[in-house]
């Protein structure tokens, strides 16, 4: 009945210590971030004015009954993106946006400097706001190649109902919707890259299992139904796999589950308590935290492409103790994480694979998650949800007095 097979210890095999240099922790000049665009310039942390080569976008006429409202809304969204110099007059610009809006429907047309049409699209969602946001994101993506935030969503956990449940809101903390109504609790949500699915940890059975929910239809299915605990899912960049912690083998390990075949592969080899997996945008590496009894550290493991493939595992030093909740930036060049400094939880960001790190926020901030364009982090602090602009250090609370908010994750 008992099957015993020799096992190898992670520590003796594969741990390479990254240089554990301590980095200076710059003081955060936390001026309260007003949602006022800095047109044509960015101010860095030291207060120096940087000239930025932002493109100039001219917002031209929007005809039709709701055209004026559409233009005003678009101006707000495009200015808030801080990706352009937005002009509304007749001055020359690199791009011109015009169109029409009737009854809340919006038609937008983007032209380049030479008058060549880059796209023309119609947006027919029920609300004018929704259509404006979709058009604004399309304009931002077409010009910058980076996703806009107007239609992006943040999932998070709140105990507002008396039990921890999963909610979603937009990047302004508005349009809050409760996603789960579980009997006990639903935690550690993550949203699929196409924003159609949410994976989360459910205590519905009395034990933690990972479940998948279609946001639009509410259809759900169980991803794991194994003994012990399954928790902390993270979607791969292509949305076809989930990394998560499972302990059915008698040891908690990071597994990668293929959502099409419903198979799972163990990719860690830990003697501790691994958790918080996060995919590199290339889908070939996963960062996770692991506590072997001496405090949590961050590790990076390569994901084998086929069975039996040798992979490497690194310990990645943040420079701070008790580092956990790693999340890769959308360009894969940085990792944000939670760590402990002077007895308090902090949010830090460090370049990958080497380079300096910096404290983004002190005073009990936890669970950083990158905006799709890599410009902001969202995180929680004392149960409040914040958005923090990396370049300026400015931040603002987008949701408070909504129970105790934890574990936010921005749509990637």
């Amino acid at each position: 009945m008992t099957c015993r097979v020799p096992f190898f210890l992670l520590a003796s095999l594969a741990v390479a210590l990254a240089p554990a240099s301590l980095h200076a922790e710059p003081e955060v000049k936390g001026s309260w971030w007003q949602k006022i665009p800095l047109i044509g310039r960015l101010i860095d942390r030291e207060g120096e004015v940087k000239k930025a080569s932002m493109p100039r976008l001219r917002l031209a006429e929007f005809t039709g009954g709701t055209g004026a409202s559409a233009k005003t809304g678009l101006q707000d969204e495009l200015l808030a993106s801080r990706e352009f110099f937005v002009a509304t007059g007749e001055e020359t610009a690199d791009f011109t946006l015009n169109g029409s809006s009737i009854g809340g429907r919006v038609n937008g047309r983007l032209l380049d400097k030479k008058g060549k049409q880059l796209f023309e699209r119609s947006y027919a969602a029920p609300g004018l706001d929704e259509n404006i946001k979709a058009l604004a994101d399309d304009v931002i993506y077409t010009i910058t190649g980076k996703p806009g935030l107007a239609t992006s969503r943040i999932v998070f956990v709140s105990d507002k109902s008396g039990r921890k449940q999963v909610y979603v809101c937009d990047s302004d903390g508005r349009e809050v919707q409760q996603i789960t109504h579980d009997r006990h609790a639903a935690v550690s949500p993550t949203i699929s890259p196409d924003a159609s699915m949410i994976a989360f940890t459910s205590y519905r059975s009395g034990f933690p299992d990972v479940r998948l929910m279609d946001i639009h239809s509410g259809w759900e299915r169980e991803v794991s139904d194994t003994p012990g605990s399954s928790a902390g899912p993270a979607f791969s960049p292509d949305g076809s796999r989930l990394a998560m912690v499972m302990s059915f083998i008698g040891n908690p390990e990071i597994f990668v589950s293929d959502l099409n075949s419903n198979t799972a592969a163990c990719i860690s080899d830990s003697v501790g308590a691994p958790g918080s997996p996060s995919w590199h945008p290339d889908g070939k590496r996963i960062a996770f935290s692991n506590d072997d009894g001496g405090g949590s550290s961050i590790y990076i493991v390569e994901v084998p492409e086929k069975e039996g493939q040798a992979t490497r595992l690194f310990r990645w030093s943040t420079g701070w103790g008790d580092s956990t909740d790693p999340e890769w930036s959308p360009d894969g060049k940085q990792l944000a994480f939670t760590a402990r400094s002077s007895g308090q939880w902090i949010i830090g960001v460090k370049s990958y694979a080497g380079g300096g790190s910096k404290v983004i926020q002190r005073g009990g901030a936890m669970h950083p998650s990158w905006s799709p364009n890599g410009r902001y982090l969202c995180y929680t602090q004392h149960g409040e949800l914040f958005i923090h602009e990396i370049a300026t250090g400015g931040r603002r609370s987008i949701l408070k007095n909504f129970g105790r908010i934890t574990e936010p994750r921005w749509m990637r």
Partner: protein, 160 residues
């Protein structure tokens, strides 16, 4: 810096179906410094085990307390585990659910992992002391229920 290459031992085992819920024992690590430090015992089916979330359960022994990030078992843990194992030998049909809890100030995902790790360490030691592995189930609750459950570094053994 060159990094050692790890041929993941589980790589051949790894593409295991999630239907492994009914698996018996597969290898992993022992927490203890005992004779079989390279063997870990997989969990059996959860069927028939009651979660403390679904009703009050009877404690089988005093709480196992941990400090900070501690996951290794102490001598105080050991003596209590020996007593529990002896008790089980008198009633070998007895089943235990070990649930781990942490304080509310820890990052939630880390709290879940830490609490689950501790419960698995306790289970591992009970098996080494002679308790049948299929009779012990674990549950890491972290601080997800700290308003209604213990809000400290503790693992509770419930008799089923």
């Amino acid at each position: 810096m060159d990094s050692p290459t790890m041929n993941l031992p589980s790589a051949s085992l790894l593409l295991a179906s999630l239907a492994l819920s009914a698996c018996s024992l597969v290898p992993s690590i022992s927490f203890t410094k005992g004779k079989d430090a390279s063997v870990v015992y997989a969990l059996g089916s959860r069927e028939g085990f009651s979660s403390p979330l679904n009703g009050s359960l009877r404690l089988a022994c005093p709480a196992f307390e941990f400090k900070g990030s501690q996951i290794a078992l102490s001598s105080a843990h050991e003596s209590e585990l020996v007593k529990l194992a002896e008790e089980w030998k008198k009633d070998s049909k007895a089943r235990y659910l070990i649930a781990g809890y942490t304080p509310p100030d820890l990052p939630e995902d880390h709290a879940r992992a830490l609490s689950e790790r501790r419960t698995l360490g306790l289970r591992q030691r009970l098996i080494e002391l002679g308790v049948e592995g299929a009779n012990i189930q674990t549950l890491g609750l972290g601080n997800d229920f700290s308003q209604t459950s213990p809000a400290s570094h503790v693992a509770l053994v419930y008799k089923q």
